[in-house]
Amino acid sequence: MKDLLGLLTATYGPSGNEDPIRELIENEIKDYVDELSTDALGNLIAVKKGNGTGKKVMIAAHMDQIGLIVTGIDDKGFLRFSNIGGVSVLNIINRRVKFKDGTCGVVSYESEIDDIKKLTLQKMYIDIGAKNKEEAAERVEIGDVAVYDAPMFASGDRLSACAMDNRVGCVVAIEALKRVKESDHDLYFVFTVQEELGLRGARTSAYGIMPDIGIALDVTLTGDTPNARRMAIKLGQGPAIKVKDSSVISHPMVKNLMIKRAKEANIPYQLEVLEAGGTDSGAIHLTASGVPSGVISVPCRYVHSGQEMIDLRDMMQATDLLVAILNKDL
């Protein structure tokens, strides 16, 4: 699982440009599913048929990541950009970023800024080492998107890389998809697009599928770092079963079932109340006449930075929990 996560976090796939990551996931799962398709927005939908007695379950993990989209190239060859998803100024200063074709650059800012708090993305640029506009334009076009270039490192059970949000969820989905063998249910594993721009892929894929139950897989924040904002989630204490975030209140039936299955299988778990942020279940549960939905989260530090840290055990136990849920009655 660790190697797969390393590969996924290093693969390019910002919101709206998910082709490379989709291709990778497609190859990873194609031998394990009954149907595989890509919908109009680019969501990858993998179906594992049940025995006809179960429910239709949508398991969603967004495969997109945040990024920087080029809006213009100046005469000296510096790239101006806007954000794809939640990009904070502080997280990107002097960071190394890469484009789809491997072109690398460094993010910096106009040096006349004296107060860093006043810095906005409009005063920042990407330096790809081009000597002038023509040279830059040969490598990068307007509308191209850069992502963090930060390969994974491991320190014991702790793993750190860019795009843990939400390649962790993708790995959980991929592993569960391979391991689930005896489910009664029709399982729709959806690797969604454009979550970081407002749950867009989940909205359309859920409409296309019309599931009976929705389960999203994503990362969540933690409260276990120095002077952290208070939050009862820690790395290494097991997967988090979401109670609420800004996009959804988990359906009690789904949430309680998750707790029950965790207890039965002796899987440690934490209960998550996320004060700011949302995930695909926010869109899924409001589809058509409503879909009972819940979320399994993997705790993650430094979310949306160039190095997001998780605990491998949390991810593995999240997978165990998902498999336990899908293998039994819903």
Binding site: S15, G16, A40, L41, D74, R80, S82, Q122, G143, L197
Partner: protein, 339 residues
């Protein structure tokens, strides 16, 4: 073409009260279409049957415009009002407006400079401190002319000036409406669903409903978008420039353009030698956001006519951009294979 733009931009159609402009569009669209109807939200939908595939392409422009709604009538006969849609409150002072179906004239007033504290002169006057003066001297007199909930528009007439420049209110998005009316004159391989949507300026409301019941296979949005090619705006924030051709969007706050359609649009412009520009900023949103996310998803793209000072009584655009946007849309639809 110019006459059409004049008629459309001078018509009233603040979000939620699009009747006047809708009537004009219906009158003009009917003879060009196989079927026209108004849905429950008030969107106009004109259908032009195709010659082949039976696939549906939804082309959308919103007919609503930003404006005002009357929210109170004071004892002194002055009207309180609220903006409908995004309006910069700094453009409001001393502007002329027309209120309600009878177009009662009024001016937006504030305390004169002589009466302002020094501190007040250095701050922006808040919209809530402004009022509309319709020349009435009592609540009774004002109430005979205006009712609560009446809408008001900027009083601004269509003008051609300078080098092929146009000044008008509501170019956003009557330019799109006008272009779509032109597109209806042709017949295509696919069925063309020309949608003139309502309530875009208050949250893309009409387009979502229209896309839901049309169930299109592809979406094309035609807009008026912001141009900031004016002094003191750094090059990288100009977004679009007048006279440089239609702006093709790769992304805004409501949608990321479908990659294939984006490439196809750029290719269409290049092959036909139509000048074009990319919208060099991520800002604003439009009906594409709702169409793209309708039902199980719809591949969607937006092109726009650059307009300076949008959402003000005096928007300015270049007629050449308008013609080239129409040309690009025509060529795109002619070469378009809807799947």
């Amino acid at each position: 073409m110019v006459d059409l733009l004049k008629e459309l931009t001078e018509a009233a159609g603040v979000s939620g009260n699009e009747n006047e402009v809708r009537d004009i569009i219906l009158r003009l669209a009917q003879p060009l279409s196989d079927k026209t109807y108004v849905d429950r939200m008030g969107n106009v939908i004109a259908v032009k049957k195709g010659t082949g595939s039976g696939k549906k392409l939804m082309v959308a422009a919103h007919m609503d415009e930003v404006g005002f709604i009357i929210s109170g009538i004071g004892d002194n006969g002055m009207l309180k009002f609220r903006p409908v849609g995004g309006i910069d409150q700094r453009v409001l002072v001393s502007k002329r407006v027309l209120i309600g179906p009878d177009r009662i004239p009024g001016v937006i007033g504030v305390k004169a400079i002589h009466l302002q504290e020094p501190q007040e002169r250095n701050t922006v006057i808040k919209q809530r401190q402004m009022y509309i003066d319709i020349g009435a001297s009592s609540k009774e007199e004002a109430s005979r002319l205006v009712k609560l909930g009446d809408y008001a528009i900027f009083d601004s007439s269509f003008l051609i000036f300078g080098q092929d420049k146009v000044k008008a209110k509501a170019l956003d998005d009557r330019v799109g409406c006008s272009i779509i009316l032109e597109l209806l004159k042709d017949r295509y391989d696919f069925d063309l669903y020309a949608c003139f949507t309502v309530q875009e300026e208050v949250g893309l409301r009409g387009a979502g409903v229209a896309a839901y019941h049309i169930e299109p296979d592809m979406g094309l949005v035609i807009e008026g978008t912001t141009a900031a090619d004016i002094p003191d705006v750094p090059d990288h924030l100009k977004t679009t420039k007048l006279g440089k051709g239609p702006a093709i969007s790769f992304m805004d706050y409501s949608s990321v353009a479908n990659k294939d359609l984006f490439k196809q649009m750029v290719r269409t412009a290049e092959e036909n030698k139509i000048p074009y520009q990319l919208k060099e900023n991520v800002s604003g949103g439009n009906d594409a956001g709702r169409i793209q996310q309708s039902r199980a998803g719809v591949p969607t793209i937006a092109i726009s006519v650059p307009c300076r000072y949008i959402h003000s009584p005096s928007c300015v655009m270049d007629l050449n951009d308008y013609k080239n946007t129409l040309l690009l849309a025509q060529k795109f639809l002619k070469g378009c294979e809807v799947r």
